[in-house]
Amino acid sequence: MRAGIVIVGHGPAAHRLVQLLRRYGYRGRIGVLGAEHRPAYQRSLLGEVLGGRLRPPALTLPAVAEGADVRDGVTVTGVDRRRALVHTDDGGSHPYDTLVLATGARPHLPDLPGLRAPDGAPADGVTALRTLDDCLRIASAPGTGPTGAGKGGTQGPGVVVLGAGVLGVETAVDLRGAGHDVTLVHPAPHPMENRLDAPAGLLLTERLERLGVRMLPGRTPLAYRSGTLLLEDGGQVPARHLVVCAGAVPETSLARGCGLAVRTGVVVDAELRTSDPRVRAIGDCAEYQGTAGGSVLTAWEQADVLARLLTGGRARFRGARSAVRLRARGIDLAVLGGPDAPGEGHCADEVVTLMDRTRGRYARLVLREGRVHGAVLLGLPRAIAAVAQLYDQDLPAPSDRLSLLLGTPPADDRGGPAEDDVVCFCGGVTRAEVRRSWRDGARDLAAVAAATRATTGCGGCARDVLALGGGARSGAVEPVDGGPRRLAGLLGEGGA
């Protein structure tokens, strides 16, 4: 019997790969060796645990199809490529025909005095956030509980989040949402500086402050000492707990140990082959064309390409279309395209910006031949949904860019909306489908959502969906005080 595929790591990339291998008809053995002591979970929802809105079991990904031999809590100690064997710390060895490295990344812990214990692990009171265990540690650490004192009462030192990248911002908002006293320290002048331009960065800073996060941008940390974070400019920030969100480093020790080519990540080609054709790598540990890691979407796309290749199909990974949607309650922020896209990419030919200082809304669209090449969207949930769809499917952007960004009906559209217009961009639900569900007896948003999936994504279409309901019901249901008009009025809109 053939040895089959062995996957090292059991994160979202590995999970997706197993699913797709089975979907594409792979019948051989699949072994999964996961180092964490729990089954694969949705890392993107960790913030919900930090924020106290979800309990850990809710994050568990559905078990993969039968036939995969999943072993969690098992650490791979070495790979013998000559004999095609993987050795584990429980004394086992696993033969493979194809080895897939999906070892992910580990959090980067900066080289600051006081951040590490003598053994190199994070010191007491310091967490480099990455795993569910990290979240649970933060939630249970002393001094990080929600501040008991009421408003104006004396509050002990709270949590300091170090690093305002995507994870740092999300973490700060989640902890704040759970009632913690949160300070966000960041060396650059504004959060997410490699993804956001200055106007967006400043508006995001203001937004975070309004959510109650104490912002310290442009401040460089020097050391962590007895519950205080010392800053380069002499400032001191009391921190009972320090949460480090300073980026991730691809986990490559296994690849290095067995002599595979490694730069920042494990180097792979468009077929996700490492320097040994029998060893592939996907997800955060893989480096393709100089870029290592990426969002979960990158990992999924790589899993898809690899699953097709391993089942006899033809596919190539061409680099992921980067899309970041901040998962922070109270902030609608999306960045589409690589970090460089919002700049003057030499291939872009049009840049559209919208600045609404009063309401903290901002958009920057970078277009190439009428298609979205990159975008920064803040405070514009409808535009996020619409632009993300255009970007994802590489569709031409409508000529009325202002309406696209403001989420208003196109000014030139004298004919009115068409029935096959998409209302809910996340779910791809059309106007006609929404109308039908109202006609079929739906009486509230939840019922429409159950029937059509509309509003279940970003929720930005809720008003449209309700307004359509008003129109649909006016004939069938007794109008209440003018029916649809009143409904639209309650929602603060002039009319559907």
């Binding site: 003057e344 872009a348 030919d349 049009e350 840049v351 559209v352 910006t353 919208l354 600045m355 609404d356 200082r357 009063t358 309401r359 809304r361 000529s399 009325d400 860019r401 202002l402 309406s403 960004l405 403001l406 208003t408 196109p410 000014a411 030139d412």
Partner: protein, 402 residues
């Protein structure tokens, strides 16, 4: 019996007033005395640069010497008013001549502001306001040499274009982070800098001048910046804005605005009912305006008052402008800086065609409040006429109209 109107100054705005009075006063109630300081009759100051580009200075004159040939108008050139005696209702010139008036219109204009940097008086340093200034620049220009223009506003860009036309290699220095900060936002300014750069005019923004140094011959040789840089320049032009010429006010007991200028009401009248002020020297609505279009409207309202025509108050300046600066089309209109409460800014930049358009809109995006255009101003007339109104179509469609 005809009364005497004395006009102190004879620039573009004074000329407009004279024309209006001649046309609007068939009954010849007014005898005009026009006292101009420059040796030239009124000329088109806005087009000054064209005489560095080869145009004859005489083409710029607004009326030649025609007013001199009219018995109703006595024109004195090279004559500066040095004193205003309100009690006796008379003005005194530098030559000691005394002119009595029944009505006085102050149209003394503005003088270039020269920042107080050491070396500002060196030979080879010029301001950029009069025909004499330009004659001096033309004589001093050395083709191929580097030159420096201090100030990156409208005037500085004009001056740099003029120097370029004379074959020099001009570099503009601007304190703000981008050129024309009064009219443009960062992106528009950056694009403008790039466009004029492609036409041989270099630009340094965010810098300030510390001193000017002389070469062996005593003429300006270099410009030193606060960051320690020294820029070579055999010619320097100061284009750092203008200040109202309101020095007659003090001794005469007339009020001036906070930023200078004779303080006038909405009819351009000072606190003395016989004295008006118009153009760059007037602080209408509390501040001077520095553009010719508002000056013309002031001249019109004063002429109407003097001739008994339909009087319309000067209702504040429309600072809309569409210009071609150093070969680049630039326009601004309405609330260009989005100062209206709740205003939203919508900007489109075409990277291939190198044009930029910003619209300032009401909070729902429906009403046009103002905007700025760089690189292509074809949409300007339509947009300007829509200020304060609801957009008839999409903003994008308006901007792409060519």
């Amino acid at each position: 019996m005809a009364r005497t109107l004395v006009v102190a100054g004879y620039g573009m705005v004074a000329h407009r007033l004279v024309e209006r009075l001649r046309a609007g006063d068939p009954g010849r109630r007014w005898r005009l005395v026009v006292l101009g300081e420059e040796p030239w009759p009124a000329y088109d100051r806005v087009s000054l640069t064209s005489c560095l580009e080869g145009r004859d200075a005489r083409d710029l004159l607004l009326a030649g010497c025609e007013p001199l040939r009219t018995p109703r108008v006595r024109l004195r050139l090279g004559t500066r008013v040095v004193r205003l005696d309100r009690r006796r209702a008379q003005v005194v010139t530098a030559d000691g001549d005394v002119w009595r008036y029944d009505a006085l219109v102050l149209a003394t204009g503005a003088r270039p502001f020269v920042p107080p940097v050491p070396g500002r008086e060196l030979p080879g340093c010029f301001t950029y306001r009069t025909l004499d200034d330009l004659e001096g620049i033309r004589a001093a220009a050395r083709p191929g040499d580097p030159a420096v223009v201090i100030g990156g506003g409208l005037l500085g860009l004009e001056a740099a274009a003029g120097l370029r036309a004379l074959g020099m290699r001009p570099q503009i220095l601007e304190q703000a982070p981008w050129p024309m900060p009064a009219q443009l936002d960062a992106r528009g300014g950056e694009l403008l800098a790039g466009l004029v750069g492609a036409r041989g005019i270099a630009m340094r923004c965010g810098v300030s001048v510390r001193s000017l140094r002389a070469g062996p011959g005593g003429r300006v040789r270099s410009v030193g910046l606060h960051d320690g840089t020294a820029l070579e320049a055999s010619l320097v032009v100061f284009a750092s804005g203008v200040r109202p010429r309101d020095e007659l006010a003090g001794a005469a007991g007339l009020a001036t605005g906070e930023r200078g200028g004779f303080l006038v009401d909405e009819y351009c009248r000072t606190a003395d009912p016989r004295i008006w002020a118009i153009g760059d020297c007037a602080a209408a609505g509390g501040r001077p305006h520095g553009l010719v279009a508002p000056g013309y409207r002031m001249a019109d309202t004063v002429a109407a008052q003097l001739t008994g025509g339909a009087v319309r108050p000067f209702g504040g300046a429309d600072l809309s402008a569409r210009l071609k600066l150093a070969g680049v089309h630039v326009a601004g209109f309405g609330d260009t800086h989005a100062r209206t409460a709740g205003a939203v800014e919508f900007a489109v930049e075409d990277l291939r065609e190198r044009r930029y358009a910003k619209l300032v809109l009401s909070e729902d995006g429906g009403v046009l409040l103002g905007g700025a255009l760089v690189g292509d101003t074809a949409a300007f007339p339509a947009l300007r006429s829509l200020v304060g109104k609801r957009l008839p179509g999409s903003a994008d469609a308006l901007l792409s109209r060519r």
